[in-house]
């Protein structure tokens, strides 16, 4: 087990290296920070001076190695755009993203799993067909369009929820949170629903197919024959067995929500890290993008690691890799 952990650690180190190279080359290909930052009344001399202050006039290799040596010392660099250290810039926006991500996942689980189990148990009912129809519709509406439709209905027509921004926050242990504040919660609801609709559809489908398979297993038939009452059957036998894949997928989905809620955060002007990433890509702010994606790749390595360990614990036949 220890060697498994160590090997994984080594692999993730390599992964971080590859990611940093990819982003370096990618941002170099995509944009020129001087062209984005310099306004039209810059003379050519101003532009050259700016390039040298940003350090982007050096060959890419040199820039990369100076980045690496700084990173090893824990310095991820300074944002081109904000001229602030990169790490605090990301960290101060993290709570906003985490809050919405957890709320969305929570809504997804609480709505999706019961709907899925219901559909799995009552395959022939009309209501099941309706659920299946709705989840397919929800799944196929592009996220950005859904967001604007939500704004149109809830903010413009019904005027019950605010359209954008974060609203009031409460300080808790030095972190700004919206969860414990009515105004904050109201602001959080539309972006969370926007992210949750897709999750609800997915969880419903997962729970439904899981239920269908489990219900036909021999042990379920046996349990039914033994006369175990239905609620107990669902709680003890069904739920336990279908939760394994659901929890696994939820972990990965949570990672995705934290890393790439870019469209939702942009449309709702939610000041989280997804919006920061998109803005930084568009503003040629390479230090932010590199640091961000290194953190994200590390997060996914950890998530996948946990998933693999869980698999291994559940199914001893699978070997460690």
């Amino acid at each position: 087990m220890l060697s498994f952990v160590l090997r994984r650690l080594g692999q993730s180190g390599v992964l971080v290296l590859i990611m940093s190279i990819l982003v370096f080359v990618g941002m170099y290909v995509v944009s020129d920070p001087v062209a984005v930052l310099a306004s039209d009344d810059f003379t050519e001399e101003d532009r050259i001076a700016l390039a040298s202050e940003l350090g982007v006039d050096r060959p890419l290799m040199v820039q990369y190695f100076s980045f690496l040596s700084n990173m090893v010392r824990g310095d991820f660099g300074t944002s081109f755009v904000y001229n602030k250290p990169v790490l605090p810039l990301i960290v101060e926006r993290l709570p906003a993203t985490l809050e919405v991500a957890f709320l969305a996942i929570g809504i997804g689980l609480c709505v999706g799993v019961p709907l899925g189990i219901y559909s799995g148990l009552n395959r022939k009912r009309k209501s099941t067909k309706t659920i299946s129809f709705l989840t397919t519709v929800g799944y196929s509406i592009p996220n950005f369009w859904q967001a604007l439709l939500l704004i149109l209905v809830f903010a413009v027509w019904l005027k019950v929820l605010p359209a954008s921004g974060r609203g009031d926050t409460t300080m808790l242990f030095g972190i700004e949170l919206s969860f414990f504040n009515v105004d904050g919660l109201r602001h959080m609801l539309l972006p969370a629903i926007n992210l949750a609709i897709y999750k609800i559809c997915m969880q419903t489908r997962l729970a439904r197919s899981g239920t269908q398979e489990v219900m036909f297993q021999d042990y379920m038939t046996f349990a039914r024959a033994k006369g175990i009452p239905r609620p107990r059957l669902i709680r003890r036998h069904l739920l336990r067995n279908i939760m394994i894949p659901i929890v696994t997928i939820t972990g990965l989905e949570l990672g995705g929500l934290i890393a790439f809620s870019t469209v939702t955060e942009t449309v709702f002007s939610w000041p989280g890290i997804g919006k920061l990433l998109l803005d930084s890509i568009h503003h040629a702010d390479r230090p932010v993008v590199v640091a961000y994606l290194i953190l994200i790749v590390m997060m996914f390595v950890v998530i996948n690691f946990v998933v693999d360990v869980l698999y291994a614990l559940l199914d001893p036949r699978i070997r460690y890799t």
Partner: protein
């Protein structure tokens, strides 16, 4: 030698093989929703294929568009007399024609990307399971890498290097599609590998390649087939999102997604037709694909078939 083996392995039919049509009928008989979906899918595909012949206007020919025809509501007539059943967008593009042509692009992009991406993903997943060791490590870490890499940056890179184009969007979506399939197939294949028949095949001296194609592939592919229609919906949505972010298909050849993204700007001012029509068609198409594939999957599931 080989044909002899295959011959002996083919079970003797005790009744005449059902024809394609009979099997087809058996799947859909008694399922009106599925039949409706099937008709829908057929219509959408036919519309996409024959769009140039049936569309009232060629929405991709800039010389034919006139901004003086812009923003006409559904049921108007264009300056040249063309009847516009779904109205026009700001540039005088007939929405109905745009939807027909957009279907072509969306379907083509999504199907190509998902098929190619899934094929690559399945093969890599199988390879990872079969070979293990460093091959598996590299493939699975590549999956991690891909999942951590934002699609927008990838699409921007392709755009910056190769310029805009439908093909670049397909590349971006292929790179987006393979990873989840590889992960899925590897997981399934790993548990297949523990079964006796693989050991038997190994003992019989079959090559890795033959084991992969003859045994592992057919037994591991069903979960991929199950998620395939979802992947196609997902790819259509992903293409739409890339267009919304300004890195999708060329703006002069809008897909359904790009039509929706353009129409988004007009939603609050009451010019609903620009985004609602393409959006409704997109949803209807995805629904039809899902209904049909659900039926096929239920039919393929022995437990459920027994209950039917």
């Amino acid at each position: 030698m080989e044909t002899a083996v295959e011959h002996t392995m083919t079970p003797k039919p005790d009744k005449p093989e059902p024809t394609m049509w009979e099997r087809f009928r058996k799947v859909f008989k008694g399922h009106p929703m599925a039949i409706a979906g099937l008709i829908g899918v057929t219509l959408f595909i036919l519309t996409a294929v024959f769009a140039p012949f049936i569309a009232p206007q060629n929405p991709y020919d800039l010389a034919k568009l006139d901004i003086l025809d812009g923003l006409l509501p559904p049921g108007s007539r264009l300056y040249d007399g063309t009847y516009s059943a779904m109205g026009t967008d700001a540039l005088g593009r007939d929405i109905l024609s745009g939807v027909m042509y957009g279907l072509r692009i969306s379907l083509f992009v999504a199907f190509t990307a998902v098929l190619v991406g899934s094929t690559i993903g399945v093969l890599l997943g199988l390879l990872a399971a079969l070979r293990g060791g460093w091959v598996e490590t590299i493939i699975m870490r590549a999956v991690d890498l891909k999942i951590s890499f934002p699609g927008i940056l990838l699409a921007l890179m392709l755009l910056a290097i190769f310029g805009t184009g439908v093909d670049k969007v397909i590349y971006a979506l292929i790179i987006g599609a393979w990873a989840s399939k590889a992960r899925l197939v590897r997981a399934v294949a790993l548990s297949e590998m523990k079964k006796e028949y693989i050991d038997a095949a190994r003992l019989a001296g079959l090559s890795d390649f033959r084991i992969m194609t003859r045994f592992l592939l057919p037994n591991s592919i069903s979960p991929v087939l199950v998620v395939l229609p979802m992947s196609i919906s997902g790819a259509i949505g992903a293409e739409a999102t890339l267009s919304f972010l300004g890195v999708g298909v060329p703006i002069t050849e809008p897909s359904l997604g790009l039509l929706i993204a353009n129409g988004n700007d007009y939603l609050l001012s009451g010019k609903w037709w620009i985004s609602i029509f393409p959006g409704a068609v997109l949803v209807a198409m995805v629904l039809c694909i899902n209904v049909v594939s659900d039926r096929l999957r239920d039919h393929a599931n022995p437990y459920l078939r027994a209950k039917d």
